[in-house]
């Protein structure tokens, strides 16, 4: 069996590697590979953690209080905990500049999905219309990946938008707030469906209730936001840990891939990397290289390679990302109740808005805010802090956020390009929202507000927050799959139409971006590309 070099240990890289290994290949994975801090008090619940940790402020707020959201600071209703900062820490060697776009990159083991919220929503057949492949091919990979990572969910009203696949485990128990919402939905269902095209159901989440593969099941510690210490919530670094035990797997961490060497016949020859600790350059011989470093990093690597090969780098068009709007709400039936920290903290319910064109489906994740930090919300109440706190303590259990996601299309004005200067090259990202976006958001948010109202919730006026592009970290589309061998596209098997032996297994190959979280599809698509690659080798 042949050898393959994979760049990046994120959601795409590790699942490509796993399938390739299972089918007999030798895999070398090149990665910067920053590691996570060790879990602290792994069996303590959220409340117990605050009691027993010697320095809870250091843990929750950071050594330099970087987790405190001061008034006037640009922030969200909840942010990334300081101990997850290793995931987003920049790397000097990866330089970028963006317009209309706030890009996030990761050089951590497991990549950006180390901070995901576990949403595992397969794309619907209609959403795969632009993908040059049979939907059942991806459907099989969804099942394979679900078997590996553990996906919980229920065949319910949302299955019309998110197909049921193999290895779907039962959903976790609902928290009280989500239960109240779902019961209310059951009573209002026919009106919500018919009048507003709104459907609700259990979320699909990569979290398991049972113990398997060294991971513990979810025991409702309530620490999901702060990294699950029991590893019940899946992250790609768990797969990487398992791969490290495989005899045909070689992990080269602490390396930054700089370019792919391409020969005169437009075929890959070597992968050039820099060892970060020493600054030493090395070249790895390879006839097949898989870029799975995420859309931005893979695209830059590709452009740097073309520039080194031919003297110039083209512009990659079609950068996509999901627009997200956070809609906070108060569920009146939950007022004055004690909030419930001992439960699964991410979304337990999801909401779908049917659109005339099924590709324009709008997807919402319902998160009942329980163990998120309190001070960012309390300070936003237009009262003195003492009064605001009194209201908050009586409304805490009633608070929720609907994270509304919108689809994106490939458009020529959204681009990635390369700029060279004395220090090397820099990735230039440019994003412009579509002209239809404001109207699309207005219409959808009107339906969302009405739906929440029928579910017994109120949306405080002026509190909906349109997140900047880039914040969802669902980047895709710069080297789309195409059945035709056009320049700057990839084959349905992920191979570049420009450079033979160069494969893309991440979001850069998506020709369309549905409104759903894409990470589960990244894994499934990488698994599918690996199968095709293995079949081609055979």
């Amino acid at each position: 069996m042949r050898r393959v070099v994979v760049v990046g240990s994120g959601a795409s890289g590790v699942h490509f590697a796993q399938t390739a290994l299972e089918r007999g290949a030798h895999v070398t994975l090149v990665d910067v590979g920053r590691t996570a801090p060790a879990p602290v008090l792994p069996e303590a619940s959220f409340a117990r953690f605050k009691r027993e940790h010697a320095d809870p402020a250091g843990y929750f707020l950071g050594a330099r209080f970087e987790g405190v959201l001061f008034p006037g600071a640009k922030g969200e209703y909840y942010g990334f905990p300081p101990h997850k900062s290793y995931i987003f820490a920049p790397l000097d060697r990866f330089r970028s500049q963006a317009r209309g776009f706030d890009p996030l990159t990761s050089f951590a083991r497991g990549g950006l999905a180390e901070s995901w919220t576990g949403g595992a929503f397969p794309f619907h057949e209609s959403e795969l219309r632009d993908f040059p492949l049979e939907p059942r091919e991806l459907q099989a990979s969804y099942g394979t990946v679900a078997g590996r990572i553990g996906v919980s969910g229920t065949d319910d009203d949302l299955s019309r938008f998110t197909p049921v696949h193999d290895h779907l485990a039962p959903s976790l128990p609902l928290d009280a707030h989500s239960r109240v919402l779902l019961e209310r939905y059951a009573r209002e269902r026919s009106r919500l469906n018919a009048d507003l095209g709104v459907w609700m159901g259990r979320t699909r989440a990569a979290v398991r209730a049972d113990e398997r593969d060294g991971r513990h099941g979810c025991t409702n510690l309530g620490r999901c936001l702060w990294s699950c210490p029991r590893e019940a919530l899946y992250t790609p670094s768990l797969t990487l840990r398992a791969l490290l035990r495989h005899e045909r797997f070689t992990y080269l961490s602490g390396r930054f891939a700089t370019r792919v060497e391409i020969d005169a016949a437009n075929r890959v020859r070597k992968l050039h990397v820099v060892e970060l600790a020493t600054g030493r350059s090395e070249a790895i011989d390879a006839s097949d290289i898989v870029l799975a470093a995420g859309t931005l990093a893979s695209s830059k690597l590709f452009l740097d390679s073309l520039r080194a090969h031919g003297g110039s780098a083209p512009v990659l068009e079609g950068l996509m990302d999901n627009r997200q709007v956070l809609v906070p709400f108060i569920n009146l039936a939950m007022l004055r109740r004690r909030y419930e920290p001992d439960s699964y903290q991410y979304h337990q319910l999801a909401l779908g808005l049917e659109r005339e064109d099924p590709r324009h489906y709008v997807h919402g994740l319902v998160t009942t805010l329980k163990t998120a930090l309190v001070h960012p919300i309390v300070q936003s109440v237009p009262l003195d802090l003492k009064s605001a706190l009194w209201i908050f303590r009586n409304a805490h259990a009633a608070l929720g956020i609907l994270n509304v996601n919108f689809h994106d299309d490939r458009r020529p004005e959204c681009q990635l390009a390369l700029e060279a200067d004395r220090e090397g090259t820099r990735l230039l990202a440019r994003y412009e929202p579509s002209r239809e976006e404001p109207e699309r958001m207005r219409t959808a948010l009107r339906s969302v507000r009405k739906a929440l109202s029928r579910l017994g919730c109120i949306v405080p006026p002026g509190m909906a927050h349109v997140r900047p592009m880039g914040a969802s970290v669902h980047y895709a589309g710069t080297l789309p799959m195409s059945a035709e061998a056009r320049p700057l596209t990839t084959s349905p098997g992920g191979e570049s139409h420009d450079v033979r032996g160069l494969y893309f297994a991440d979001g850069s190959t998506f020709p369309f971006l549905p409104a759903k979280n894409l990470t589960f599809t990244l894994m499934a698509n990488a698994e599918r590309i690996a199968r095709r690659w293995c079949d081609a080798q055979a």
Partner: protein, 146 residues
Amino acid sequence: MAERVELERECDVLARYLGASAGDEYVRAQYRAAHDAGVVELPGTSSFERTVVAVARHVPVLSRPLDAHARVFAPSSLLRRKLVLLLAILEVRAPHDEELDTPTGSSVLAMFARMAWLGLVFLAALFLGSLLSLPIWLISLAGGAR
């Protein structure tokens, strides 16, 4: 040393204002550490803002009017920054997290009545805070900020 004592006193006064028992040694140490780290008082903080904090520290009963005034007219001012910082420290530290985040257990009707009352209290506090801002401004001009 005097500055440290003042900062601890301020921590206790503001903690009580927020509804927690006076800060324990850990809370005080964290409050001090944040000030030492330079994340609280930003460049450009005016002597008026410092005087507002000094008044709130020495006359605890005025904390609420000064906070209400700051919420409307200077939401990113020094007093608000200190209050938000302290809230962040208290909410991650037992038993203060419980003190600040337990429902009061009243009926829905009583709760809405209390909310209406809080609205009125806020307006009154805002009015008083606005009245206070003039003498505080004069004190700050005279170099009274400590």
